[in-house]
């Protein structure tokens, strides 16, 4: 059973959505609401993108784009459409799979190297390579499988929460995560020694 990262928001179905309250204030022209929203939501958005992409620069681009879409959605935001956090999970997942799809078309030599001004210890370098390998493997899955697996195993969302974020049924989530996980295991299994796992 995967544990949720510490930066997970409370997705309880209490009906209250403080982020929607702040978004309404922002839409009415309150600049303080924008800062409060950014401080509350941006860390989680960035973390989700980072976990799915394994690339800090790309994750920042995705995070900024996701927040931009939130600002633009503010005037027409409808609370009955769901929570802001759920909407952001969906937007970030879609933006990430867009990025992953572009990776599939890049020759390996053209893949961008993340900037690393300081020499990293070997253990950290291996971890970065493994996280990149995970996202490269996600890039090879059908996009809905990649999103379901990422929301389940990287974000720690429950199947009902994933169903709401992806606007599909719970049974579909279970099928997507199961198939996606098997495919990932097959893709990464051939690279075990390369990833630093002992035989």
């Amino acid at each position: 059973m995967s544990g949720a990262p510490a930066d997970q928001p409370d997705l309880s179905l209490s009906g209250a959505d403080p982020a929607a309250d702040l978004l309404a204030l922002y839409a009415s022209g309150d600049p303080g609401a924008a800062r409060a929203l950014a401080e509350s939501l941006l860390p989680r958005v960035l973390a989700q993108a980072n976990r799915m992409l394994g690339d800090a620069a790309e994750a920042e681009d995705v995070a900024q784009e996701a927040m931009l879409r939130l600002w633009r959605a503010a005037p027409g935001w409808r609370r009955e459409g769901g929570r802001v956090s759920t909407w952001l999970y969906r937007v970030v997942a879609n933006l990430c799979t867009d990025r992953l799809r572009r990776r599939r078309s890049l020759p390996l030599d053209d893949a961008a190297e993340p900037p690393d001004p300081a020499p990293a210890p070997l253990s950290r370098m291996e971890e970065a390579d493994r996280l990149r390998a995970l996202s490269d493997a996600l890039a090879r899955l059908p996009e809905r499988q990649a999103q379901a697996v990422a929301l389940r195993h990287l974000e720690g969302l429950s199947n009902p929460e994933i169903a709401e974020a992806m606007d599909i049924g719970v049974e579909a989530v279970e099928s997507l995560t199961a198939r996606g996980r098997r495919a990932l295991a097959a893709i990464l299994g051939s690279r075990r020694s390369e990833l630093g796992y002992e035989e």
Partner: protein, 115 residues
């Protein structure tokens, strides 16, 4: 199921991966917010409209229905102004019953939309 255990280990590693919002990223996000923010309403005076909202004096003029009538009247006035007048026909020519006289060379502005 070693590959499955290894996959779970990889997931756990990804969940622990640190990420923090740099001041530069926060600044970019807030700049986007400022650029996209609807204009605030001005207190005590004519309201500055937010995105999609009509100004405060809009209902006083009758709203959209009144505006439709105003637009139609303005359009008719425009056509009357640009149409070339023809000489006024003497009253004698009205002797025939049912004769219609065209005083102005009005072109039906909606003719092109008739089916």
């Amino acid at each position: 199921m070693r590959s499955d255990d290894d996959l779970e280990a990889l997931f756990a590693e990804a969940r622990r991966a640190p990420s923090s919002v740099s001041p530069e990223l926060m600044a970019r996000v807030l700049a986007d917010a400022a650029a996209a923010m609807p204009r605030p309403r001005l207190a005590g005076g004519p309201a500055a409209a937010g995105i999609g909202e009509p100004p405060g004096w809009w209902p006083l003029l009758g709203g959209w229905p009144a505006m439709a009538g105003l637009a139609a009247a303005a359009l008719a006035g425009f056509w009357i102004g640009v149409a070339q007048p023809v000489p006024v026909v003497l009253l004698d020519s009205f002797a025939e019953a049912g004769q219609a006289v065209e005083l102005f060379g009005l072109e039906d502005p909606l003719a092109r939309w008739e089916p």
